[in-house]
């Protein structure tokens, strides 16, 4: 324990937050330096998170802010789930920050970098906090910066999408806050572990109503089926680097909050059928809408809805294997979708169009980018050597292990969703490589600052896909943390 004292998880939140506010000051000296601060901040976060991760796997690290013991003060819980997601956020943040060095050229660049840092600070805060109101605050930091970043380009589509996102998102936040208020009124505490200890039966109306309000509020950000109307617009209108973060981080963080509230605070165990069906519906709606799209970014955005459905389905199985599969799917979706959006960013930039038909012959024009895009697409679809295969395989195994006929039927529907997914991704890849090859003009590859993040993401997708046991060492303790509520309460309250 002695060596963990100087590795404080608070720094994961404090450093990006501090750097975000340093940017305007630094801008007085040098205007060009702003873009390097996110790189520095997330490199620091990644190293720190990787150092803390092994410790948190043994024993969750509880940080008491200002020295108040947990039920009274705000605390951070750096357990396996929190640290796993914080590492993922820092990694994606670092890669997208490198990508943005060259990609973000127009508009108010300083503000972009400030908001980018704040967005990921909010995301890290949500996954690490152990206090329900603190979760709300970090959630709002995440949401407000993402509303702004969707409108960053200031064009027609961006503004319209940002308005829609803001209206729906702020209703969601209000519902979440009402739920928190109702819980505080009854139990007099905001600490998640303390709430979990006091809440006995969630079917009582006085507990059930705040639960529904909180799940609905968080579900809007997580884009679970009836609440996902904002997602395709917002994800397709934002700059591609931000789409990668929104698709790869923001919705997963929303989903994490839903799962944390359901599993840890309310200990819901028997109406998961509802969520299973909701997950399957989300998959079908997302994949079928994606199939019909002509615009590449909208297609990727709908594909994210489908993937979120799959993650919800995995968590709703609520067995050790199912939850581990859900977390694994979060990892493979973050890596895969971030890679796809980053590649799509420069493909759109070079061809000047988001229309799928304009990508004919891009396999010749931008061979490396097209190759990385293909790796990402294959991983999302779930072809063998990539992570997507391993994570989908775990989910299917978990569903079959349930041994109920209903789960077997549902997993069949999930696989149909995967086939639709394959159909539109393969169609796109065919367009990229085999159509319009005759008009192959000179090569115009993406710049190095874009190729490095793509290479790292593609490398990780292949590496984790080939050696899934490497990540299973983290996934298993993480799944038990979510399922074993008593242990969570003990580790926080002592």
């Amino acid at each position: 324990m002695a060596d963990t004292t100087n590795l404080n998880p608070v720094l994961l939140i404090a450093v990006p937050l501090g750097l975000a506010f340093l940017i305007p000051l630094l801008g007085l000296i040098s205007r060009k330096s702003a873009k390097w601060l996110p790189v520095i901040g997330f490199l620091f976060n990644l190293v720190l998170a990787l150092l803390i991760l092994p410790h948190s796997l043994k024993q969750p690290i509880i940080v008491e802010i200002a020295g108040f013991a947990p039920p009274f003060g705000i605390n951070l819980v750096a357990g396996p789930v929190g640290m796993l997601l914080a590492t993922l956020i820092a990694l994606t943040g670092l890669l997208v920050a490198i990508y943005a060095l060259r990609y973000i050229k127009e508009g108010a660049q300083q503000k972009y970098h400030i908001l980018f840092l704040l967005l990921l600070t909010g995301a890290t805060g949500v996954v690490l906090t152990g206090d329900i109101f603190n979760l709300f605050v970090f959630f709002e930091i995440l949401c407000i910066s993402s509303y702004t970043l969707v409108a960053y380009l200031g064009n027609r589509a961006g503004l319209e999408s940002a308005v829609k996102y803001l209206i729906q998102g702020s209703i969601g936040s209000s519902l979440l806050l009402i739920g928190i208020g109702l819980l505080y009124g009854q139990f007099g505490t905001l600490n998640m572990a303390d709430l979990a200890k006091q809440i006995g039966d969630y079917t009582e109306a006085s507990v059930f109503i705040p639960m529904v309000l909180m799940i609905t509020g968080l579900g809007i950000e997580a884009a679970i089926f009836p609440l996902n109307a904002w997602l395709p617009d917002a994800h397709s209108s934002a700059p591609s680097s931000i789409s990668a973060i929104l698709s790869g981080i923001a919705i997963e963080v929303g989903l994490y909050a839903v799962i944390r509230v359901l599993f840890t605070i309310f200990a819901v165990s028997n109406f998961f059928m509802f969520f299973t069906v909701l997950g399957v519906l989300t998959i079908l709606i997302g994949e079928m809408s994606a199939f019909a799209q002509k615009n590449i970014k909208r297609m990727l955005a709908y594909s994210s809805i489908g993937q979120i459905g799959l993650i919800v389905f995995a968590f709703a199985i609520s067995s050790q294997l199912g939850v581990a599969g859900g977390l694994f799917q979060i990892i493979s979706h973050t890596l895969g979708k971030a890679l796809l959006f980053l590649c799509a960013g420069y493909m759109i930039f070079r061809t000047g169009s988001m229309d799928i038909s304009s990508f004919e012959g891009i396999g010749k024009k931008m061979p490396l980018t097209a190759l990385f895009f293909t790796i990402g697409a294959f991983s999302i679809v779930g072809l063998p050597p990539f992570t997507g295969f391993a994570s989908k395989f775990v989910i299917i195994r978990a569903a079959l292990a349930k041994g109920e006929l209903l789960f077997q039927i549902l997993i069949g529907i999930v696989l149909i969703g995967t086939i639709i997914e394959g159909a539109y991704f393969f169609k796109l890849i065919q367009t990229m490589y085999f159509k319009g090859v005759h008009k192959a003009d000179k090569r115009e590859e993406s710049p190095v600052t874009a190729l490095i993040p793509m290479f790292v993401l593609a490398g990780l997708i292949i590496f984790i896909g080939m050696f899934p046991n490497f990540i299973a060492k983290i996934l298993n303790p993480a799944a038990s943390e979510l399922l074993d509520r008593a242990k969570y309460i003990r580790s926080v309250l002592g």
Binding site: F133, E140, I144, A157, S161, V163, I171, S173
Partner: protein, 119 residues
């Protein structure tokens, strides 16, 4: 009457919340929707503050001897409301600045006419 007397803050708070939600669901003009959002937030804040309210209570500071903790209002909801007001201010500022941009591009604030993004 005692029911009204005891729960008047909650009735008022949820009244505001439902009025706000109704406006946001029904109105087409973006500015009216933002007003609805503002009413909704006011309702939520009123609700939070009334959770910790005690009639004739004092501030939770032991400024002189003889003060009883039972007569003090709960300070936590007040801290929550302060935070929620600040967050609400940020959202409101952003929403209104988006309204300016929206009007510049579309020449209207009627959200039923601004429908370029489709499913």
């Amino acid at each position: 009457m005692s029911f009204l007397h005891n729960y008047i803050y909650y009735i008022g708070a949820f009244g505001l919340i439902f009025i706000g939600l109704f406006i946001m669901a029904v109105k087409r003009n973006y500015i009216k929707i933002v007003i609805g959002l503002s009413i909704l937030e006011a309702g939520v804040n009123l609700f939070l503050i009334s959770v910790g309210y005690i009639a004739n209570g004092t501030a939770p500071i032991f400024s002189r001897t003889g003060l009883n903790a039972n007569n003090m209002v709960d300070p936590v909801p007040q801290a929550l409301v302060l935070t929620a007001i600040v967050i609400g201010l940020a959202v409101m500022g952003l929403a209104l600045s988006l309204a300016i941009g929206l009007y510049r591009h579309y020449g209207t604030l009627n959200l039923h006419e601004i429908k370029e993004q489709r499913w």
